[in-house]
Symmetry: C2
Subunit: 276 residues, 2 copies
């Protein structure tokens, strides 16, 4: 049975979703959070729909073992490809990062010309494009797949000449189009925010889904009377590949104290899979 003191569960393919977790900690400091990075199967961004659905189902089942009261899919690719399936299968409330990010972009743009950066999976799914079009039917949307950026962030090549060359290549379509808003549709991309700004060279609003997703989580918990009664929440990290390596990466990218990380390997589940 769901009680208010149950934790919130989040998953992403790696560390990127921690940008979402940090915004939730800031907004909802009394909540206990369970973060799972599926580092044994990272990246998600260039894998097929059915594979990402399967991974998302397995990750959800693993997090449900912690009796979570809310699931946040803190990964754009999984949000884009697997959210309907998850909501179809599971009873608990589930939030993704696409809708909140699209809403933030829609309220930010003045010219209604928005570029969306994401993985191949996210861009090909059309999830951001549909969400934006629903909010601003006359919007001009330039979707750009940036498959290499996740790896450059994971390598911490945040300001490397090669990263700059690759970003310049990806941003070419924007230089021709007069967009005023750049929507970062991957939780890894905020680490490259300055580089995006440099390469664009003119004023654009660069936004990501993290704070908007945290706002949506706060609203949902309030509406469903599920806010934690505790005075302070605790935060727990799990990864499917080497937990020590995951802790070191979190420490380096987020400039925080080395967190304690435990191993969690989602089991292979057939739940929700169609008979072939």
């Amino acid at each position: 049975m769901t009680t208010t003191s149950n934790p919130i569960g989040l998953f992403d393919s790696g560390v990127g979703g921690i940008t979402v977790m940090q915004e939730i900690i800031r907004l909802l400091p009394c909540e206990t959070l369970i973060y799972f990075g599926d580092t044994a199967r990272i990246p998600y961004g260039n894998k097929g729909n059915r594979t990402i659905e399967r991974y998302s189902i397995e990750n959800t089942i693993a997090l449900l073992e912690f009796n979570i009261k809310l699931l946040i899919v803190a990964c754009n690719t999984a949000s884009a490809l697997a959210l309907p399936k998850l909501r179809n299968l599971f009873k608990i409330p589930i939030l993704g990062v696409i809708e909140p990010g699209a809403e933030k972009a829609a309220t930010t743009t003045r010219t209604n010309r928005i570029a969306v950066l994401g993985t191949k999976g996210t861009i090909q799914s059309g999830a951001y494009q549909s969400a934006l079009q629903r909010l601003i039917p006359q919007a001009a949307i330039i979707p750009i797949a940036c498959p290499l950026l996740v790896h450059l962030v994971e390598e911490r090549w945040l300001d490397h000449e090669a990263t700059r060359t690759i970003v310049r290549e990806y941003l070419k379509p924007i230089q021709k189009e007069e967009v005023d808003t750049l929507l970062l549709g991957c939780t890894h991309y905020p680490f490259l925010k300055e580089l995006f700004q440099d390469e664009i060279g003119r004023e654009v609003a660069i936004i990501d889904s993290a704070s908007a997703c945290a706002n949506a989580a706060a609203l949902l918990l309030k509406q469903q009377a599920l806010l934690s009664p505790a005075s302070k929440g605790s935060h727990h990290y799990y990864s499917s590949d080497d937990p020590q390596k995951f802790g070191l990466l979190i420490e380096e990218l987020f400039h925080c104290l080395l967190p304690s990380v435990n191993l969690l390997v989602p089991g292979q589940s057939h739940i929700g899979e169609k008979a072939e």
Copy 2:
């Protein structure tokens, strides 16, 4: 029971191991081959030892369902990290790519100064370094981890400015050291051979494990009287992520006819299932 007409099984995290398969087809045209690319969990190169051991065991079990008479671990990272474990567990003969590659490098070098390029996992394991040192105790070995190259090959950025910049950065330690042999310790790297040659700018022997591994396979089958009696072998492809996408990547990288690829998810019995 093992019979001579049973197939040979090969696995890699992706398409790279097909370089090994092609050499086996050339040398052993009568053998039936089953190739498995674990694209749902690619890359292997920056994941932990235990994860790669687990994946290798699961892949082996999946290939054993085809009654293979020989397993070839056509992936450098899995060969470096999981070969002892696999040989310890399974009865069938198992070949990796490290020993054959090291032997080829050892017979090629004249100055005994050898650079080894590989993934983080392969380089950190020290497998190539130990193998080379056993063959040439006085060898000077320069190991270089090149974690981004797999992704650039998978994106087919084989001659992109960014790829060139990244290769130049990785090869810096070689420019100072007078190596005469460059051992490509990852099945993806042969696609960047020309770029390596360009960036080094002077004469070096660039070698990979594919043909050496095929030679070792031929020798082993002959010694164990397991050579196929057929007049012509057939070749079958499987992948754990979207089989159609895998077929298209094989077609593009190997300039061959679009192969038929089926889905195979280790740990589940999907053998023989067709793509959607």
